[in-house]
């Protein structure tokens, strides 16, 4: 799998160049190439007059490339002035730190970004946007010629956004080139001179912002035709398995969710990263408790306080990050598969090796897991096959509702369509499926209905096979067209 394919990107001095694309379109990878975190396989980079095969982070910094990430990378226990000093002039190990000049430098830089932050404040006391401003101050102070901002407004209030926009415009006026990444189209219209749209790791073109409409921009992002290779739905869905009424949870940032999932139905959850989809899944699985609202399972109101209770109620959750929270790489496949079913499979908690092995063999056969046997460690499998093991673990609990979080993330194309077939097959057997996916064609192709989330609420519920444009518009918060 290639994250980037033959992308060309150029940035002029005194320009704000926006980078736009869906989740996984290759924006982060491109940034990592520019900052030297990744080396490209092919192609060259040209900074000023210097042509390079690849960069190292130190070299990138020396060339005047600065990046402000969504999560500021500051030292929380040091003061603002110390952070700025450390970043700008890495002191030699035995040199004496000049506190006075360090502090003065910090004051000057903070003033330039218009931040009302004390240079003596410890960074841990600062809010996220204040920390971002400190990052920007560092970038300014380093005399950066290229400043990359990765969704800088994601956590800012309206007022702070304005402040930030001012800083960006100042940067542009002083001849700095700014690469600006954002999902928010209105920001791109307000700030950017040009925009490059990435899709599936390829550039679909660079345009002057003033030549584009919002609708045209969304079209560029979505672009491709939805493949027709998805397994079709058959028959009518059965009775309602899951029903959510006004479900809210402050901790998860989820608000007033109403949703129904019926037996035999696949409901796709679309939205951007951070829209609250995973948080909703975590509420349903008892990881984060809901503050208010109702969860009805088979018409009965239930409260879930732990995954164990959720499992007992017939809910299964295949988490997003299977390497972290799904398959335990050191453990054999058989152990991975039976991990959630010990009480059912082995009454009295004895492990019966024979039934464990035969259960694992059943799943290896049914889901087509490619391995040499149930005793193979999870880590020996490819991504797609690990995902099948993760799904097997949850199918083994015989759930009524299966929640899948990014089921085909990082899975190769062949395994992807296999997993799609498996999911459709499970729905046909009467399972209610809630599938979170940032892969738009997947959501469109697999879902019987599509719920779109934005900012912790469901902004639209669309029929299966809905228009990609409408889904994207709802996810981006554009009125777009009339949404059902």
């Amino acid at each position: 799998m290639r994250a980037l394919k033959g992308v060309s990107f150029d940035l002029a001095a005194g320009e704000v160049h926006a980078l736009l694309g869906e989740n996984g379109a290759g924006k982060s990878t491109l940034i990592k190439v520019i900052t030297g975190a990744h080396s490209p396989d092919e192609g060259t980079l040209k900074v000023g007059d210097e042509t390079l095969r690849s960069l190292t982070p130190a070299h990138a910094r020396a060339l005047g490339i600065a990046c402000i990430y969504q999560q500021p990378a500051l030292f929380p226990d040091l003061t603002v002035a110390e952070n700025i000093g450390l970043r700008l002039k890495k002191p030699k190990p035995f040199s004496v730190v000049k506190r006075g000049s360090q502090r003065q430098m910090a004051i000057d830089l903070l003033k330039r970004v218009g931040a009302e932050i004390s240079p003596d404040a410890e960074v841990r006391e600062l809010s996220m946007p204040e920390q971002q401003l400190v990052e920007i101050a560092c970038a300014l102070g380093s005399g950066a010629k290229i400043v990359i901002m990765d969704e800088p407004t994601a956590s800012l209030t309206q007022k702070e956004q304005h402040l930030l926009f001012g800083v960006v415009k100042d940067l542009r006026a002083s001849g700095v080139g700014v690469v600006y990444i954002s999902h928010r189209l209105e920001e791109i219209f307000a700030l950017a001179d040009r925009v490059t749209v990435l899709r599936d790791g390829e550039s679909v073109g660079t345009h002057a912002v003033k030549d584009l409409t919002e609708s045209a921009m969304i079209k560029l992002m979505v672009g491709r035709e939805v493949a027709t290779l998805y397994p079709p739905a058959e028959g009518e869905p059965g009775e309602t398995v899951l029903s959510l009424k006004g479900l809210s949870c402050a901790e998860g940032g989820v608000q007033g969710i109403n949703l129904e999932v019926r037996a035999g139905e696949i409901v796709g959850m679309a939205g951007l990263v951070g829209a609250g989809r995973t948080e909703l899944a975590r509420i349903l699985f008892g990881i984060t408790p809901a503050d208010s609202g109702e969860i009805l399972l088979g018409g009965k109101a239930v409260k879930m306080h732990s995954p164990r209770e959720a499992i007992a109620q017939g809910i299964a959750y295949v988490p997003e990050d299977r390497r972290r929270h799904g398959v335990i790489l050191e453990m054999p496949i058989a152990h991975n598969i039976t991990m959630a079913v010990h009480p059912r499979l082995f009454p009295g908690t004895w492990l019966r090796k024979k039934s464990e092995t035969s259960l694992a063999e059943d799943f290896i056969r049914d889901l087509g897991i490619k391995t040499y046997g149930p005793e193979a460690p999870g880590g020996s499998l490819s991504g797609g096959n690990q995902q099948k093991v993760s799904v097997s673990r949850w199918l083994a609990t015989k759930p009524k509702l299966l929640i899948l979080d990014e089921p085909t993330q990082g899975v190769d194309v062949g395994a992807k369509s296999e997993i799609h077939r498996i999911i459709r097959g499970l729905a046909k057997e009467g399972l209610a499926v809630l599938m979170i996916s940032s892969d738009l064609p997947e959501v469109l192709g697999m879902s019987d209905r599509i719920a779109v989330m934005r900012g912790g609420t469901i902004t639209a519920v669309l029929p299966g096979g809905a228009d990609a444009h409408d889904v994207m518009a709802a996810a981006l918060g554009q009125s777009g067209r009339e949404v059902a």
């Binding site: 699985f285 990881i287 799904g326 050191e330 453990m331």
Partner: protein, 312 residues
Amino acid sequence: MMRKYSREIIVAIALILLMLALAAYAPAYFDPQPLLSRFTSQAPALVAAIGITLVIIIRQIDISIGAQFSMCAVVAGVAAAAGMPLPVAVLAAVLTGAVMGAFNGLLVAWLGLPSIVVTLATMVTWNEALRLWQQGRLMNLPAGIQWFGLSQSAGQGIVIGLSVVLLIAFAWGMRNLALGRYVYATGTDAEAARLAGINPRWMTFGVFVLTGALAGLAAVLNMVQSPQVQPNAGDGLELKVIAAAVVGGVAITGGRGNLWGVLLGLLLLVNVNPALTYFHQPPYWERAIQGLVILLAVVADGLQRGKKVKHA
């Protein structure tokens, strides 16, 4: 098979080579009576090592195990000296251990405090409490406690027998009980375990309680071997059992290892001293050689991990 148990095999080979060398050059090592005495004196460490192994597999550490051992020994001694029957003294020691373990477990599992700090604090606390209470006195035990009131060889048989039975039971349980699987799962990835419906807090708490109880039992198995109770009987025990676990292939990062390896590790480490004696070498080398063995084990772990990282 070979790769999975490579550490156990290497340690076993080292042990066999040591035994062969002893058989060739110092056959007196195998005289039955002293051999039996040596095994008996190390049996309590084996019982404590079972507990520490579970703690390390679940990705925690308990350096208070020696202090727990001392405390339990004194509690059992006081109970016995007060004229209580032996089973009551045993129960008192095991319960005391379990309570001390529960204290560690509570702080680690529910307050999320790092176990190294928690158990360092409790180690110092229990040791100082003992010093205030006993002022370093040796306590004389009434007759009928040493060797359970039986002959020495019968008593030795019971001590060794009990330890071995416990080892077999726990080794079996870690492989064949769902609970054993839960310990490995929690130690490898607590979040994944939680998502699978396992409660990592209860698992961690339970392991600490169990370890305390095993320390109590070990203290009793140690007490019955002499007519007196020392208030610092457990000094240094934590290092001995942690070292045995590490040499035996238990990953200090949790999730990996088994009790048979720990048995081999312990046997190797505790035989350094007698081997020196029988080879007529100065005994000062004991610590240095033990340190070298531990260092080799850690380096081997590091090399293995390095290989894995590269492949990933």
